[in-house]
């Protein structure tokens, strides 16, 4: 590929320049190789971010092109941070985050621990378990909506089968007390394998001789589990939690398809709320301030977490 490009460039240029291109210094090559990536990220990630910051201080509305744009200082930020509805969205997000991480860590670690017993065919079953996390979250949300239908849905049927309740007596997506759990269940179904894979990598990184030494010291299996396995896997587990935390804080597609934020706003996570403000109410300036607040929150929390993670690693 670059073979031909280079030859073409070389043959199209006068000999001294051609020699220069062929024999570029390492430093020049380094910059030529890195520049396109950096440029693309600047254009499509950093520039928009700066633009968002600028818009967040205005009352701009993207659907009214001719309208005069006024600088309004920190008014957008003030309004968001004092809005009690937004704190409800934050609460919904926190509920979603905490419980998905709890279940995924619990089930994911257990599965990894079981798979690490190296039973026959564990490769094949691991692959099958991994399938859900490879799928499109929006499409997953869409078909789980079908499974959750009261009366006709498979989920209600199975729960009814085991509990003896009427399958039409509860609505996973329609009831205020159940909807927050319906999204936790689907996210756990989808992403437990991710936590499992990272835990598995952690378990496999523990050298055998540590257990052999413990065995010689007559440490019980239970003791080995708590003093070797858990501490050695912990950094991996914490990393998995970080990735899941960031992803679920941004959660949009799965939940939008599943509940659309409803009933009422019980499952209206911050991203969904943000989308409403930005692309339905078209309060662009306000939504920009909201986006910046969310971004700073994720970034801040993640940095604190990474510091804690590094401390654990150093031990």
């Amino acid at each position: 590929m670059s073979d031909r490009t280079i030859d073409r460039v070389a043959s199209a240029t006068p000999p001294p320049v051609a020699r220069k291109i062929r024999g570029l210094s390492d430093r020049a090559i380094a910059w030529i190789f890195v520049a396109p990536t950096i440029f693309l990220l600047l254009a499509i990630n950093i520039f928009p971010l700066i633009w968002t910051i600028r818009l967040s201080f205005t009352n701009y509305k993207a659907n009214r092109i001719g309208r005069e744009v006024k600088e309004i200082g920190f008014r957008n930020y003030e309004r968001i941070l004092t809005d009690s509805d937004i704190w409800l969205n934050m609460q919904a997000t926190a509920h979603f985050l905490i419980w998905t991480i709890f279940f995924q860590v619990l089930i994911g670690f257990t599965l990894a621990w079981l798979i690490n017993k190296k039973f026959k065919g564990n490769d094949l079953w691991t692959t099958i378990i991994v399938l859900p996390m490879m799928l499109s979250p929006a499409v997953v949300g869409n078909f789980w909506k079908f499974l959750y239908q009261p009366q006709i849905g498979l989920f209600n049927y199975i729960i009814a089968f085991f509990t003896g309740k009427e399958p039409s007596s509860f609505e996973m997506l329609g009831q205020v007390n159940l909807a927050p759990w319906s999204i936790v269940i689907v996210d756990t179904w989808m992403w437990t394998p991710f936590v499992m894979l990272i835990c598995l990598a952690g378990l496999r990184s523990i050298p055998d001789y540590i257990y052999e030494a413990a065995e010689i010291d007559r440490a019980s299996k239970l003791r080995q589990f708590f003093t070797i396995t858990i501490p050695m896997v912990l950094p991996f587990l914490m990393l998995a939690v970080l990735f899941r935390g960031i992803e679920n804080f941004k959660m949009f597609d799965l939940v939008v398809q599943l509940t659309g934020g409803g009933p009422g706003s019980t499952t209206e996570l911050t991203s969904i709320n943000l989308k409403r403000e930005a692309f339905e109410k078209w309060r662009t300036g306000y939504a920009s301030a909201y986006a910046i607040i969310l971004f700073v929150t994720v970034f801040g929390l993640a940095s604190i977490y990474v510091k804690a993670l590094n401390k654990v690693k150093e031990r």
Binding site: I6, I29, A30, W31, I32, F33, V34, P36, T37, L40, L41, A43, I44, N45, F47, P48, W51, L114, I115, K117, K118, N122, D123, W125, T126, I128, L131, P132, M134, L135, S136, A138, V139, F143, F146, L147, Q149, L154, Y157, W189, G202, S205, Y211, E212, A240, F249, Q257, S271, L274, A278, F279, T284, A287, S288, A291, I292, L294, F295, V298, F299
Partner: protein
């Protein structure tokens, strides 16, 4: 693990662990199997209670498989009067299926187009991210770049941004540049999202290739470029392939940007599938058929290429 080890679990432990894992795997597969089955049901069977799950059985739990869902997915239909139906006999098997509902096929649906868009945007952005990513990864791996660590962190941190947060200015930017609802716009956007992962993954692969090979090539009179594409690239082929699969899966699955920035021309399948509507509400068999067709390539990919994929998922954790 051929020699004896104190860690080799007993057969009973293995058997116990194995059955629990298999049980979980089976439970995890139920929703997917159910969707695949629903694609072959008639609308009435799809929403019947109790659910029908035995293919081709006449019992209460059985249903006769039909291609209705797939026909509805790929076609648009209109209801016709009895006289019209009598005057025009069905042209083919698909037409015959829809005649049951006094309908005729009037043309293809948008699904084929949307699916094709997914393919074009998926492969386009994958090619671009892997191409740019390989160059950048090679440079980061082999040359001293000032502030390399900061740049690498910057590249990774772009992934922390919620898509909706950057969607507002990207929406405005695309509108000004005429990139709204175009394939090129979506390809550039997905490339920008994917490239951070591509650079990090590829760097970890290229770091694993000993520098001696290139040094030998340089001494033999190769230029840096030649050493790069004749020596390093072939050895990084596996890494490049598995990175490509990751980028492809992301672009294939993406929804938030697609739903906000495309409407018709460049819309991909994920925003389209949930909008398939039949008579009196959502057409679940057609949706299930679309979901099945859309998820199948990814599932096949995952099973065939599991070793490379698993390395990619855990790279962040295993990396020092």
């Amino acid at each position: 693990m051929s020699s004896f080890s104190v860690n080799e679990p007993s057969n009973r432990t293995k058997w116990f662990a194995g059955s629990l894992v298999i049980l979980y795997a089976i439970i995890t597969m139920i929703p997917l199997v159910w969707i695949a089955l629903t694609g072959f049901k008639s609308p009435a069977d799809a929403i019947s209670y109790p659910p029908k799950y035995i293919i081709g059985s006449d019992s209460e739990a059985g249903f006769q498989p039909t291609l209705e869902g797939y026909v509805n997915l790929f076609t648009t239909r209109t209801r016709q009067t009895q006289e019209f139906l009598d005057a025009n006999p069905p042209e083919n098997w698909a037409d015959e299926i829809v005649r049951k509902y006094d309908m005729v096929i009037v043309g293809p649906s948008k699904f084929g187009e949307r699916f094709l868009n997914s393919v074009i945007i998926g492969f386009g952005s994958t090619f671009l991210s892997v191409f740019l990513g390989t160059l950048a990864a090679y440079a980061f791996s082999r040359f001293k770049i000032p502030l390399a660590d900061d740049l690498l962190f910057f590249i990774l941190s772009t992934r922390m941004m919620p898509p909706i947060a950057v969607a507002i200015p990207i929406f405005l930017m695309f509108r000004n540049l005429g990139l709204s609802d175009t394939h090129l716009g979506m390809i550039l956007l997905y490339t920008a999202v994917n490239i951070s992962l591509a650079v990090w993954l590829l760097k970890s692969f290229i770091d694993g290739i000993p520098t001696e090979y290139e040094e030998a090539a340089l001494i033999d009179g190769y230029t840096r470029f030649q050493a790069f594409y004749k020596v390093v690239l072939p050895q990084a082929a596996t890494g490049i392939a598995s990175t490509a699969i990751f980028c492809l899966i992301f672009a294939w699955n993406e929804y938030a940007f697609a739903v906000l920035l495309t409407t018709a021309n460049a819309q991909t399948a994920p925003p389209f599938i949930p909008t398939i509507i039949g008579i009196g509400g959502l057409d679940w068999p057609a949706i299930a058929a679309g979901v099945t067709l859309f998820l199948l390539p990814v599932m096949i990919f995952t099973i065939l290429l599991r070793k490379h994929l698993l390395r990619g998922i855990t790279f962040g954790a295993v990396r020092k």
